[in-house]
């Protein structure tokens, strides 16, 4: 394991075009990660994602699109200070690379920047995890979502 970088690969039974939409469009991203997402899925678009409902528990995090090349590559930086442009050293870089594979798509995921960002970023992530990782939290949201998609003409 390379400390400081997270790498994953998974096969998805959907076309790269569909997977690209799911990993890049704010409306879809909200279904698998934050409670709110505001950005344009185009390069250099600066926006934010937010976790938690209500003012007390709400946590807003900066989010800047780096690369947007449908249906192959979508990458973004996050966790940089809101008043600073995202750059190496002040943010985590997340990259999704998609390639056609059989009847579906091979998704390669990396997150880098922990070494440059230091320990605090990992601690921050762990806090999010407690809020967002549980299936208890997401399953009730996913089921209506899938039904809604299926109901579309």
């Amino acid at each position: 394991m390379e400390f400081g970088t997270i790498e994953r690969e998974l096969f998805i039974e959907a076309s790269p075009e569909v997977v690209y939409e799911v990993v890049s469009s704010p409306d879809h991203v909200k279904q698998w990660w934050p409670d709110d997402a505001r950005y344009e899925p185009v390069p250099r678009s600066a926006g934010e994602i937010a976790f938690g409902d209500g003012d007390a528990g709400r946590k807003v995090v900066a989010f800047t699109v780096v690369e947007a090349r449908p249906p192959r590559t979508f990458s973004f930086r996050w966790t940089h200070p809101a008043d600073q442009p995202a750059a190496v050293g002040n943010s985590l870089l997340v990259t999704f690379e998609l390639s056609p594979s059989g009847d579906g798509t091979l998704l390669k995921f990396t997150e880098t920047g922990f070494r440059e960002m230091g320990w605090e970023a990992a601690v921050l992530e762990e806090q999010y995890r407690e809020h967002t990782a549980g299936w208890d939290y997401f399953l009730p949201r996913l089921a209506p979502y899938a039904t809604k998609l299926a109901a579309r003409p």
Binding site: G4, I12, A133, R152
Partner: protein
Amino acid sequence: MTAAVDDDLWSAIGDPTRRRMLDLLLVEGAGTATTLSRRLPAVAKHLGVLDRAGLVNATPAGREKRYQVDDAQLARAVAQLASVGSAWDARLRRIKRIAEAIERTQKN
């Protein structure tokens, strides 16, 4: 533990030479600057960083110091990153489910 100490721990373990040093110390049980310098460069500097981050413990051994890995501190560092990885595992599973649901809808 303070954030500053945590940063030290993270950057200590982020360096490839220091990870190799930890590997050697784990495999061999312990080492001194002399034994490590046969295999690695700039041993004194890297041992100092590991020591300050609490990742090794030093005991006097003649004119040298004998270094051993602090298992608890190393486990803590590894667990922290593993938890970040498992958070992404859960997100990627959701990405897969959503994309496959859309694909099925479009085919029908």
